[in-house]
């Protein structure tokens, strides 16, 4: 589990808007090992969704400004959508946000699968057996292929999309907010299914993007926290949740209410203020304005350094 599967270096992806470039992803460097499930956590505007999307498909407004992405030793041509076509679905795959609502309501699911496979040059008949096996694994019966999306529940649709995205055994799977719109009991089933995929070798490594740290705590090996387009902290799950070193991570963890904690007993606090605008991001550390530990060195941007094995932080106070 120590060979590196995904290596991202100095990735910069900006959004074109009327008012200028939004520096959504600024100089991001990290690795994901073979077989690792990495949770990518952050709040709105942190850039986590942009990061996930830029690894597979830059949409019309996004612009690759710099940096490289390497998967299994091969460089991914993320700036060229045509060239990326050869990698999508086979090497890198994504379960996009709202995927379960994106299925064409007028087509049967089986036809959807056929079309998708055909577009990749894979014959449906050839993978049929494997498809059936996987459907059974996620507890979907074979005749789901004969049904229309509207006949399935939210959890069933999500599981269907998960099977689809991993059908060709991609090396890297990006799961973008796959549990957000689900009930709490279905969330657990879906999250556990993701782990199952990794355990059975359907995917090698996974990036699970979410805003829900408690959920990703349950299934990820490491968690990476983003803030305002930059990486704040990355560490093995228990370390990040138990002993976070970045002030933002610390504040985030302590603002989460848990079952068993009541207002009368322990009053939780949020983080005052709002994240900076990424149109004209501030110089230095982007968390500076809201950080209780900020001092003058914070005007200079802290590097994302390894302070102990596998534990990276971008903070002058922590390193």
């Amino acid at each position: 589990m120590s060979t590196v599967s995904l290596r991202v270096e100095n990735l910069k992806v900006w959004y074109r808007t009327l008012r200028g470039d939004v520096q959504a992803l600024d100089d991001v460097t990290f690795t994901v090992a073979d077989g690792e499930i990495m949770g990518l956590a952050g709040e709105s505007g942190s850039g986590k969704s942009t990061l996930g999307k830029s690894l597979i498909r830059l949409d019309g407004r996004m612009r690759h400004v710099g940096g490289t992405v390497e998967l299994d030793g091969k460089e991914l041509p993320i700036w060229d959508s045509g060239k990326m076509n050869g990698f999508r679905f086979k090497e890198v795959s994504i379960i996009p946000q709202y995927a379960m609502s994106a299925m064409n309501p007028t087509r049967k699911i089986g036809r959807l699968v056929e079309d998708l496979l055909e577009s990749r040059g894979v014959g449906f008949a050839g993978v049929r057996a494997e498809l059936d096996r996987r459907l059974a694994l996620v507890e979907l019966s074979r005749d789901v292929l004969d049904r229309y999306p509207i006949e399935l529940s939210g959890g069933m649709k999500q599981r269907m999309v998960m099977v689809l995205s991993t059908l060709l055994n991609p090396s890297l799977l990006i799961a973008d907010e796959v549990t957000s719109a689900l009930d709490v009991s279905t969330q657990k089933a879906v999250a556990e299914t993701l782990v199952g995929f990794r355990d059975r070798g359907f995917v090698k490594s996974m990036i699970v993007i979410t805003h829900d740290v408690s959920l990703v705590y349950q299934i990820a090996d490491t968690i990476m926290v983003m803030y305002a387009g930059k990486l704040a902290e990355k560490a093995p799950t228990d370390v990040l949740v138990g002993a976070p070193r970045h002030p933002y991570t610390q504040a985030l963890i302590s603002s989460l209410p848990e079952v068993g904690v009541r207002y009368a007993e322990k009053r939780l606090t949020g983080i005052p203020g709002t994240p900076p605008s990424l149109l004209h991001p501030p110089a230095g550390c982007r968390f500076r304005d809201r950080c209780p530990l900020a001092f003058d060195k914070c005007l200079e941007e802290p590097p994302f350094v390894e302070i102990e094995p596998d534990h990276f932080v971008a903070c002058w106070k922590a390193s």
Partner: protein, 289 residues
């Protein structure tokens, strides 16, 4: 103060209204002043429908809703306006709650037009200032702005401030923090807890058990339109008796504690009557031994 008694909602479905869909089935509970009651359920549990019936946005098919003993389930017209002086609501999506082509503080102007037509400029500004202060918003930061210029947290608090302009007795908060960031959620939640100190009763509708546990005195657990367990929050969370409640609690992802495999329990059928299990703790179908 607010009491629901046997409230039911049935929707007509199918061509020519042949079929029936029971969204809410025989639900009864109360909200007292100065108390937060959590209404917890997954999707399809009917919790939003109950909120809408209390706010008279949806009609009641059966049962009664009473405010201070007066039946409000069918109030209309002038009576409805009077009702809205005492009961208001805040919804889930802050960006959908504001008409995007107008400024955000128009919601205040709407209240002024309907309920305070004679109030002068200076007095109104003072009133608005007091409301904003109660929700800890800076008037300079939020007045005169368009909704897209404000954050989700500010917009939700603005809606609470709007409700407070009316001196309400009950606030129906339907998933008001689900769409907010983790760091701002807790501030709005703390705000609700502070407001109950003013004697406000709050119905906190949510699917997130940890939020309900943090802020409420009483909890009502809904499944498929019916109450399966209810009572004091510590009792329901500390000693969950219904298999569905236990399943929910076991599925909530928690920090510092991994999911434990839960032995699958057979869930009792729908429509069981509530039975008192202990003081302030009721379970549908009674306690299984």
């Amino acid at each position: 103060m607010l009491a629901l008694d046997g409230v039911t909602k049935v929707y007509r479905t199918g061509v020519f209204g042949g079929g029936d869909l029971t969204a809410v089935r025989d639900v009864s509970f109360e909200v007292q002043p100065g108390e937060v009651v959590s209404l917890i359920g997954e999707s399809g549990s009917g919790k939003t429908t109950i909120g809408r019936m209390i706010l008279r946005l949806t009609s009641v098919s059966g049962g009664t809703i009473t405010l201070d003993g007066v039946d409000v389930s069918t109030v209309k017209g002038g009576g409805l306006r009077g009702y809205y002086r005492k009961v208001q609501g805040v919804f889930q999506d802050p960006f959908s709650s504001y008409n995007p082509i107008f400024k955000a503080d128009r919601v205040f102007a709407m209240i002024r037009e309907a309920y305070f037509p004679g109030v002068g400029g200076a007095e109104w500004r003072h009133k608005v200032g007091a409301s904003l202060e109660a929700v800890r918003l800076d008037p300079d930061q939020v007045l005169g702005k368009y909704p897209h210029q404000l954050s989700g947290g500010q917009l939700q608090r603005l809606l609470i401030a709007r409700a407070l302009l009316l001196d309400i007795r009950l606030l129906v908060a339907d998933e008001i923090i689900s769409m907010l960031d983790a760091s701002t959620r807790i501030d709005v939640l703390n705000l609700l807890a502070d407001l109950k100190a003013r004697g406000l009763g709050i119905l906190f509708i949510t699917h997130d058990l940890s939020l309900g546990n943090y802020v409420s005195e009483k909890t009502v657990i809904l499944r498929r339109g019916a109450v399966v367990e209810m009572g004091a929050t510590e009792r329901v969370f500390g000693n969950p008796l219904h298999p569905y409640t236990r399943k929910l609690l076991a599925s909530v992802p928690q920090l510092h504690k991994r999911w434990e495999p839960l032995a699958a329990e057979p869930e009792p059928a729908d429509g069981q009557p509530l039975v008192r299990a202990e003081d302030d703790h009721f379970v549908a179908g009674g306690v299984r031994r």
